[in-house]
Amino acid sequence: MSVLDEVTDAGPNDATPSPPALPPDEPEGRRRWLVYLVLAVVLFWTVVGIVLFGINDASAAGGCGGG
């Protein structure tokens, strides 16, 4: 008997059974942490890149000023 059948069969004075708690959405949670991990790694290497390559001489107008 499904949850829906149980609810349908219950009389008006019966206590309505609570739907069973859903299991935690583990794949979604894992995917989320994976996205965080990838972003953190990319951020780390970007900062390393900035430190290694340095920033070009600053131009007053930004970007291609100084040409």
């Binding site: 972003l39 951020l43 970007t46 070009n56 600053a58 007053a60 930004g62 970007g63």
Partner: protein, 327 residues
């Protein structure tokens, strides 16, 4: 109460990130035109390359992407055409001809600066419950902005643009337009009820380009404007990305990643105009991406359009849907 605090913090924040760099650089930058030092280079990197790159964040927002793709002319084709066109121009042109193109590019850039100042003044009016900016106030702001861009482009040494002609009449015609705009703006302000924050916001926008005629060093005259514009933009974008209604940590992490990674690439490409074929093409891509930033921004923040208004109001309700101030 929390909304009121957030509103006040934003208004104080945008005025601070505008006034502090403009005034500090105008007063403190070395008069001989040398750059003020390494920390300054880092700030300029964030306020120029990183702020342009941050526009890419809009394309990562699932809620916004259908809107962008439904208007491919502005958000897909124009950016692509600008990148391809920029690469072709940088490849085909050189010397004085390229300098003229760059002068036009910078003219567009400084007009874009003033459009943002106008937008921030309009946002301040809305956030403080004051009547919207009038046509006269908008025209005055655009007039001072046009004066500012002419003032800068008439003296290309202010943007360190080698090979471009010095056009003193253009520089001083810009001063005339700027003065006219300030006078028109001041007249328009006299017709407004005194509201200190809004008056300060409008005065900041009207006088934004003043250092162009007061000081002669590129860093004193222009770098403050560049930093102010970039920091204004990043402040607004951080508030939109980090709005409570969103997955805040993820959105902010994506924003920082996009802005830094693409910003680093832009920074590397920005000075390749003197290189070989590939280097020059990459320099053109840099120009195209910067222009794409101008085009995308002109649409995505436009509050007259329903979708951007709804999107931004949901994220910044304390600025865009405040309780009206009576009287």
């Amino acid at each position: 109460m929390a909304a009121d605090t957030a509103r006040r913090a934003f208004l104080a924040g945008w005025l601070a990130v505008t006034l502090v760099p403009v005034v500090a650089l105008a007063l403190l930058a070395p008069a001989d035109g040398t750059a003020p030092g390494a920390p300054f280079a880092a700030v300029l990197f964030v306020a120029s390359s990183v702020h342009v790159a941050a526009t890419g964040w809009f394309y990562t927002v699932p809620e916004l992407r259908p809107h962008l793709l439904a208007r491919p002319a502005r958000y897909v084709y124009a950016p692509a055409a600008l990148v391809v066109g920029g690469a072709a121009v940088a490849e085909l042109l050189s010397g004085r001809t390229l300098a003229w193109v760059l002068l036009a590019f910078f003219g567009w850039q400084f007009f874009h600066f003033q459009k943002q100042n106008l937008g921030l003044a309009a946002l301040t009016a809305r956030a403080s419950g004051a009547p919207a900016l009038t046509g006269a106030e908008r025209r005055a702001l655009l007039l001072t902005g046009t004066g500012g861009l002419l003032g800068i482009c008439g003296q290309p040494h202010l943007i360190q643009l080698a090979g471009a002609p010095h056009l003193a009449p253009v520089h001083w015609a810009g001063a005339g337009l700027f003065g006219l705009g300030v006078a028109a703006g001041a007249w328009a302000l006299t017709r407004r009820a005194a509201q200190p924050t809004l008056l300060l916001a409008l005065a900041t926008g009207l006088l934004f380009f003043l250092p162009v005629w007061l000081v002669d060093s590129p860093y004193a005259a222009v770098a403050g404007l560049t930093i102010a514009h970039g920091l204004q933009y990043l402040l607004l974008l951080a508030l939109v990305a980090g709005a409570p209604a969103t997955d805040r940590p993820l959105a902010l992490l994506v924003l920082v990643n996009v802005a830094l990674l693409l910003g680093l690439a832009l920074s590397r490409m920005a000075h390749l105009h003197g290189g070989g074929t590939v280097a020059r093409a990459l320099f053109g891509v840099y120009l195209g991406l910067s222009c794409a930033h101008f085009v995308v921004d002109a649409g995505v923040w436009r509050l007259r359009d329903e979708f951007p208004r709804t999107f931004l109001t949901r994220r910044l309700p304390y600025l865009l849907a405040p309780e009206r101030v009576s009287g």
